[in-house]
């Protein structure tokens, strides 16, 4: 029986040091809601587990002076929901994070884990991409930043370099007239995995879209930023034609597979349906509704 070492360092430097030194035999542990399941299934067999929850920066939520937010990578869904301001500014990101699992899972699951697990169906990722979130990463060579959409490389693979840990997410300041939304299609009402997930972030000025980003999940090997969909909405007043064009862009971006969770035809169709529904919610929020 192989031995597993467990470390819970208090500083990021220690964590990066231990993680890098183990040279691939180590795994980062945030909430563990993916990692422990994978270990039980025999899919992950780490020699070292580095728990990052004892590192202060990893579990902090901060509203920045410019109006942006910094979320530690290991913040749990439940902590994010309890923050007095975050959900008001980023209701779409919050609902995406809070869709992960059940109440029990929410007490543990983190957006950092959701991103680094690199499932194409991770729920928080399309919403983070739509929000224009940037991750801060620290590794043996220091810190760097990358947009969320640059992190996943394929199912279960990321573009993080050896020894790198995601420290947190930075969400940009929010101009007035902004709103976001996340919707996923699951056959059940909860405890299910997204067949398609779609996040939208909009800014409207006088009814005209001045900023639009769309993140699309579960339809390709990685979660996608669909720039064409955002562009189709930009400058529009969300007329039917613009919505149709954005939905078409989402469908065109799909490169899904036929699998037990959905067919190619179904996933492609649903991407367009969710685009329209999510835009409607985001627009309503942008205009002051909930």
């Amino acid at each position: 029986m192989a031995e597993i070492r467990y470390l819970a360092p208090r500083t990021l430097d220690e964590a990066v040091g231990a993680f890098a030194a183990a040279q691939g035999a180590a795994r980062i542990l945030a909430g563990g809601t993916d990692l422990l399941v994978q270990m039980r299934n025999g899919l992950a067999k780490p020699g070292l587990i580095v728990d990052i929850k004892k590192i202060a920066e990893m579990t902090e939520i901060a509203e920045l002076p410019d109006g942006g937010f910094r979320i530690g990578a290991a913040v749990s869904g439940a902590m994010l929901a309890e923050h007095p301001r975050f959900g008001q500014v980023w209701p779409g990101v919050l609902e995406a994070v809070n869709l992960i699992g059940s109440k029990q899972v929410q007490g543990r699951a983190s957006p950092g884990g959701n991103l680094c697990n690199a499932s194409p169906a991770g729920d928080s990722v399309p919403a983070m991409i739509a929000a224009g979130a940037v991750v801060t990463v620290q590794g043996p060579e220091g810190r760097r930043q990358m947009p969320v959409e640059a992190v996943p490389a394929g199912p279960g693979r990321t573009n993080l370099r050896p020894g790198e840990i995601v420290v947190g997410f930075t969400l940009p300041p929010r101009p007035a007239g902004s709103g976001d939304a996340y919707l996923r299609m699951i056959p059940r009402t909860e405890m299910d995995i997204a067949v398609v997930g779609l996040g939208v972030s909009l800014t409207l000025a006088g009814g005209t879209v001045t900023h639009a980003r769309v993140g699309l999940g579960a339809v390709a090997p990685t979660v996608l930023l669909v720039e064409e969909a955002g562009n189709a909405l930009l400058g529009s007043r969300l007329e039917e034609a613009a919505l149709d064009a954005a939905a078409a862009a989402c469908r065109a971006a799909c490169r899904p597979i036929n699998d037990k969770r959905g067919t190619i035809a179904y996933r492609t169709k649903v991407a367009g349906v969710l685009l329209k529904r999510a835009v409607a919610i985001a627009a309503q929020r942008a205009q002051g509704g909930n």
């Binding site: 056959p187 059940r188 009402t189 405890m191 037990k260 959905g262 169709k269 649903v270 349906v273």
Partner: protein, 758 residues
């Protein structure tokens, strides 16, 4: 809702019909209840099963030497250690043929499905056992496999078993069953309208939360003790005995609390293997299946391919009905043909019926019983066709059912002539229910459509062997022992009955489930029989105890026992002696028991009869999100004749549970296989059973029409409620969309495809 037909009888009851706290409740909600996997013994080691990586392969040889040499390994078992039941002679235990069971617990000539046990190891811990499994070398000759019914019955299909022939040719059709009445062709000739449709359902799993698990200790004197959860400790004892050669008298099977069975735990997988591992190693052996193993290798119920044809006269009189039902048996024979063949047309009085079932083997895990085995898939076909027929005739679907419903004296094609039939009452209950009459807005919002559907169902119900013992403790309380694992609240019902009969406080009655060495033979917890049968033997035992109590009081008072009555928990002098002596309570009589003749207690063992069939009629409203193809159940009302609800909460629970399982079957559950014949969704994530938020509160309408053949009027209730939902929901979807789905589940991609094709 509770509709009671004989008020008087009921108003006199203090405990029967009330919602007392269930005896096993506190242990279950506090986590103290001991399920099969909770048992731990000194010196215990762990067993693991090596399973076939192929859907179909001949086993040329198995080399276990490396595994046996691994430090920490204590025993290895293969098919050679299991008792062989030669193919040419059937040996039955209940409905199970030991020729198939011995090959199911351990592959013999061939591995017949991906996940079929090939060998088992016991070692000092689970990791070493798993490692040892990897060291077993199996030489397989991989064979072409077949999964679906249509493929399995083609003339050029890969044949699973050379010894099975159908119409004199080797075949995957393992058997045929027929129920016949009149002359169908002559009947159809009289019909003005005929509807015929072909339907498909997928195998669905019972989905119990507790995985199969056991601990077996085989001692040096040749005696074995089994701790496991099952739907029958006596079945565990008998089947383990047959498969290991250890006589029944040397096996004690102790039932653990059971975390769900729904029929699937009426057969065993692990116990004989663990016993043989324990015998070889000299240590107690524990085995616990993973969820993956449960999904892959324990029986779901059959998938099906059915064609149903029904003909009626213009006025709605049904003149002929024909059904052909192909059922997947899994890799070894034994589909529940009796379900669709017998139940599909049984609720109706139809003069000409031909109902034929075929048992089809393919490279899937062997099916196991699932709640009203086979009946739901048959009713799905029949009740969908009736819905269409009602539409064509322009008759309300409930009216059509009412017009043709079976009545006392009706003869069913499966052979029975009905006595008391309470089908019409269930139809009327729905027809007059506020739900059926409430207007339904069929297009509440753009992109959303709603519909309403009805369907009915039938289940045989069963009596059979049960034993009970009722003992009065020295301090004057009551201990009842029955022989049935309690899966649905039967202890709570038994406590109500006993307290009622003795006229004492409910809290003074304890009910326990005996092991095979402490109570007489009791047949399976299944067939909707346990509350019916155990209430019967408990009633008779308690009546004997009351007779003893009256005799004791008579002896103390020195009067004739006939002159003593038992009322409100005490003996009272009656007749000429009335008022002569102060009453003697149960406690007082218990205190004097030994001086007055010895311990007080009585047992009864019976082959119970009189379990008349169950009927159900359901109505459901659904809502369809037409862009996403998602169907949600908005409202569900289920009417059923329950005879007498000894404990209403657990009768409601049976109805609600059956409906919810039917909703899963209709909308989201299915076994999915990949091209290699491997199950692709062996987890609760991808095998989509409904979760709480997927279903509305199911409203049960309990019709309490006492069964005259039972002391409390009980009728079996557990199975009938899963029979109508598949068709009721499909009929509601048809009402919403105008599309008749003839294939389940009605999953979102299928719904979208159908809408785009429409």
């Amino acid at each position: 809702m509770n509709v009671i037909s004989d008020k008087l009888h009921v108003e006199n009851n203090k405990w029967i019909g009330t919602r007392t706290i269930r005896p096993d409740g506190a242990d279950k909600v506090t986590g103290r209840a001991c399920y099969a996997a909770d048992n731990v013994m000194p010196g215990m080691i762990w067993g693991k099963v090596l399973r076939s990586p192929h859907a179909h392969a001949r086993i040329r040889s198995i080399d276990t030497s490396k595994a046996e040499a691994l430090p920490g390994v204590k025993a290895v078992v293969t098919a050679r250690d299991i008792v062989d039941f030669p193919l040419d002679k059937s040996v039955m235990l209940g409905i199970q043929d030991m020729r198939w069971m011995c090959r199911n617990v351990m592959a013999r000539e061939k591995a017949l499905f991906h996940g079929h046990p090939v060998a088992a190891v016991a070692a000092i811990n689970e990791e070493v056992a798993a490692e040892a499994c990897r060291l077993i070398e199996v030489d397989y000759e991989v064979l072409p496999h077949v999964i679906e019914i249509e493929d399995a019955i083609r003339p050029d299909a890969p044949i699973l078993h050379d010894f099975l022939t159908f119409e004199d040719k080797p075949s995957n059709i393992a058997g045929r069953m027929e129920a016949k009445l009149g002359d169908v062709e002559a009947g159809f000739a009289q019909a003005d309208v005929i509807v015929e449709r072909t339907f498909r359902t997928r195998p669905v799993h019972q989905g119990y939360i507790e995985p199969q698990a056991c601990t077996v200790s085989y001692a040096a004197d040749g005696r074995a003790t089994i701790w496991s959860s099952s739907q029958g400790q006596f079945m565990v004892r008998a089947m383990t005995s047959l498969l290991t050669g250890v006589p029944q008298s040397n096996i004690k099977a102790i039932p653990a609390e059971i975390g769900g069975g729904f029929g699937a735990k009426t057969i065993i997988y692990l116990e004989p293997v663990a016993l043989l591992l324990s015998k070889k190693s000299g240590r107690p052996v524990k085995m616990v299946m993973t969820r993956d193993e449960v999904m892959r290798a324990t029986g779901p119920t059959s998938g099906s391919l059915s064609t149903v044809r029904i003909g009626a006269r213009r006025d709605g009189t049904i003149v002929a009905a024909q059904g052909t039902f192909y059922l997947q048996a899994g890799c070894l024979p034994g589909s529940p043909l009796r379900g669709p063949v017998g139940c599909s047309f049984a609720p109706y009085e139809i003069p000409n019926v031909l109902s034929v079932g075929y048992d089809v083997v393919s490279n899937r895990s062997k099916v196991a019983a699932y709640r009203a085995p086979g009946a739901p898939l048959g009713a799905y076909a029949t009740e969908s066709v009736l819905d269409e027929l009602a539409g064509k005739l322009g008759i309300d679907p409930l009216e059509l059912r009412l017009k043709n419903s079976a009545k006392p004296g009706s003869k069913a094609a499966y052979g029975a002539t009905f006595g008391k039939v309470t089908f019409e009452e269930t139809i009327e209950a729905i027809r007059t229910h506020e739900h059926y009459r409430a207007p339904l807005d069929k297009t509440p919002r753009p992109g959303v459509k709603r519909g309403r559907g009805v369907a009915s169902g039938f289940w045989y119900n069963a009596g059979g062997e049960s034993s009970a013992q009722v003992n009065i403790t020295e301090d004057g309380n009551v201990l009842v022992t029955t022989g049935h694992p309690d899966v649905g609240g039967s202890r709570a019902s038994i406590a109500n009955v006993t307290a009622e009969l003795l006229g004492i406080e409910h809290g003074r009655v304890s009910v326990q489930i005996g092991d095979t060495s402490s109570i007489g033979f009791s047949n399976l917890t299944g067939g909707s029989r346990v509350t019916f049968a155990s209430a019967m033997v408990v009633t008779q035992s308690t009546e004997k105890v009351i007779t003893q109590l009256r005799e004791r009081a008579a002896r103390i008072w020195k009067i004739d026992p006939e002159a003593v009555t038992w009322e409100n928990g005490e003996a009272r002098p009656a007749g000429p002696n009335a008022g002569q002596f102060p009453p003697l309570t149960l406690t007082e009589l218990a205190a004097k028991a030994n001086e007055m003749g010895g311990p007080i207690g009585a047992g009864v063992q019976l082959n119970t009869t009189g379990a008349d069939p169950g009927f159900a009629t359901h109505v459901v409203d659904v809502e369809v999100d037409v862009d996403l193809g998602i169907i949600r159940v908005l409202r569900y009302t289920a009417a059923q004749d329950v005879g007498r609800a000894l404990h209403p909460s657990y009768v409601e629970g049976q109805i609600q549970g059956g409906v919810v399982q039917g909703i899963g079957w209709a909308l989201s559950e299915e076994y999915l296989y990949d091209r290699q014949g491997r199950l692709d969704n062996a987890s609760f994530l991808d095998y989509r059973m409904p979760v709480c938020s997927d279903v509305p509160m199911i409203e049960p309408v309990m019709l309490e029409i006492p069964n005259p053949k039972h002391p409390q009027g009980v009728r079996g209730v557990g199975e009938a409620p899963i029979v109508p939902p598949l068709a009721a929901i499909a009929n509601a979807v048809h009402d919403a969309l105008g599309i008749r789905f003839t294939s389940l589940p009605m999953s979102p991609p299928k719904v979208v495809e159908a809408l785009e094709g429409a």
